[in-house]
Amino acid sequence: MNCRALIAEDEPILAATLARTLETLWPGLEIVASAPNGIIAVEQALALRPDVLFLDIKMPGRTGLEAAEELLERWTDDQPFPQLVFVTAYDDYAVQAFERAALDYVLKPVNAARLARTVERLRERLQERLAGRQADGFERLVEQMRAILPPQAAPLAQQQPLSVIRAAVGNVVRMIRLQDVVYFQASDKYVTVATAEGDALIRLSLKELLAQLDAGRFCQVSRSSIVNLDHVASASRDPMGKLALSLRGRQDRLRVSPLFAHRFRQM
């Protein structure tokens, strides 16, 4: 069985070392690419569709976890999701989280015996997948990732909850009542505030925004968007199998990341 792997690691010697060690442990494995940062890792994974993805945790651009989240959101179902293995040098917190969620990880410096066990497990899973005995593990991975993601930020005690959004529209500052906001969508340095009457921009990170919103009404649905549940009409799968929300007062639909899809399951 020939397998293809992608290594995402910002330190060139470590990437080369991991590739060499894998070559000896897993002769049938082809390393299709080595990505030097999290952004390239996501793009190459989407383009090359590897079977196995080794993700360093601490990378510029995107951390390994962020890259995995983005991949879960952007992956299309025509191919099985890669097996993920996280690579980390030393991080008590992350390692404990991986253990809890039963995610695969290896520690740097890489211990050949330890990596051999990981390889063994990967080969078994890929074999099972090939034999059709198991789904591609996407659902399991979503559950695991959900377990290690930090819970939605609780509103900070000292911070006043927002009641009105002051957003720039050209030269005018629009005062938008929170109940009129349909959703927030982050893009680069800005967050788009979508309402039935049109869009506006604010300069605030999604994380900061989330901490000031009522968690009962506003709900994160992907890495980059927060929806106002009052305006959600329905949730349905598009032809690609992706979950999306129809919204009252707006024509566009809002994509839901697999990581947050459980919030829109039927009761």
């Binding site: 330190e11 470590l14 510029p60 040098a89 030393y90 740097k108 410096p109």
Partner: protein
């Protein structure tokens, strides 16, 4: 020999002893004056107050002059003091009539009354005054000794406080130094991982890297012991660290260190620069996709040492660098503990990108 002589009371510095004597005589003048006032009031002859004052002061001064000289000469040593207790008590009693006699003579002379008639001394009336003199000099003596003891206790307490403060300052220093000398486990394990890889790929470079790691560890761990180091050593440690990071980050990291020869031997607190350079790499350049450059430069300006750490990284706004983080805070605390207002650390945005840390401190030659 020095310990022996220094324990002898004779060798106490004379100015101190003379000053103590003057203090004591002042005290005896005051107490004598009070007793004169008391005697005048009891006698009910206010007209004689002036005479009483002169006599009383003369008696008191003469008595204390003798007693205090003896006390200051033989009494300071606690061992001798115990042994001389009885003789001294005898001297005190003996001094009462002597002081009274001499004091009366001196007083008479001063008042221009000529030699007072002391034939047949002591008469009945004198005995009373002699007893009073004994009481007076005893009281003065007790007060003087007690006052000295109080002063000594206060001085000791002050010294103890100063010592405690010094110890506390040193402890704070040590703690701050330890904080700065902490090796980040992530850094260590990543470096070891690189080393492990290089051994297989390029053994020669692995050797160089191992040398750099040793130098970095020696500087970092050694800093918990040394107080100050030569600036050249601090730069060597930084060079080792940046060398390690260059192997790890490859083309993403470039660096330059500039230390003028004249400043090589300047003394700086150990591990002062390391946290600033690590900050620049860890928060500025490592998280930046395209990487960048670090520059470390030392210069002397108006008798002050200025060290600038400049990077072209993400800058102060993004990342966990707002306000500078633990490394900057600890460095500021250390500078304050060591130099007070005479040192400073500022962290500002660099143009066109990145951050700049400027350290100024007194220039201390070796």
């Amino acid at each position: 020999m020095t310990t022996l002589t220094s324990s002898l009371p004779l060798c106490a510095p004379p100015p101190a002893r003379l000053r103590r004597m003057a203090d004591d005589l002042g005290m005896s003048v005051i107490l004598s004056a009070w007793s004169a006032v008391l005697i005048t009031l009891v006698d009910g002859r206010p007209a004689e107050l002036y005479q009483q004052l002169v006599y009383a002061i003369c008696i008191g001064v003469v008595g204390m002059l003798v007693l205090d000289s003896v006390r200051l000469t033989f009494w300071d040593d606690p061992v001798r003091r115990r042994r001389l207790m009885l003789p001294f008590l005898a001297l005190l009693i003996l001094m009462a009539p002597v002081a009274h006699y001499l004091g009366c003579m001196l007083g008479g002379l001063l008042l221009g009354a000529g030699w007072p008639d002391l034939s047949g001394y002591p008469k009945r009336m004198h005995v009373q005054m002699i007893l009073l003199t004994l009481l007076g000099i005893s009281a003065t003596f007790l007060i003087i000794v007690n006052r000295e003891r109080m002063q000594r206790i206060q001085a000791e307490r002050g010294e103890a406080r100063a010592r405690a403060e010094a110890v506390e300052r040193q402890a704070l220093q040590a703690q701050l130094r330890l904080l700065q000398a902490q090796i980040e486990p992530h850094m260590l394990f990543n470096t070891l991982a690189n080393l492990q890889g290089l051994i297989a790929i390029d053994p020669q470079r692995a050797g160089t890297m191992l040398d750099q790691l040793i130098q970095y560890l020696r500087a970092t761990l050694g800093a918990t012991r040394a107080e100050t180091v030569a600036l050249a050593d601090e730069f060597a440690a930084i060079d080792a660290y940046l060398g390690l990071m260059t192997v790890r980050m490859g083309a993403r990291l470039a660096y330059r260190c500039h230390l003028p020869d004249a400043l090589r031997r300047a003394r700086v607190p150990a591990m002062l620069l390391q946290p600033l350079v690590e900050n620049a790499v860890l928060h500025g350049l490592e998280p930046k996709v395209e990487g960048g450059e670090v520059r470390v430069e030392a210069s002397a300006r108006d008798g002050r040492l200025e060290i600038v750490v400049r990077d072209t990284g993400l800058g102060l706004e993004s990342g966990g660098q707002k306000g500078g983080g633990i490394g900057i805070a600890t460095t500021r605390e250390r500078l304050r503990a060591l130099y007070g207002e005479h040192a400073a650390l500022e962290l500002v945005p660099a143009a066109p990108q990145g951050a700049l840390a400027r350290l100024t401190l007194p220039l201390e030659a070796a």
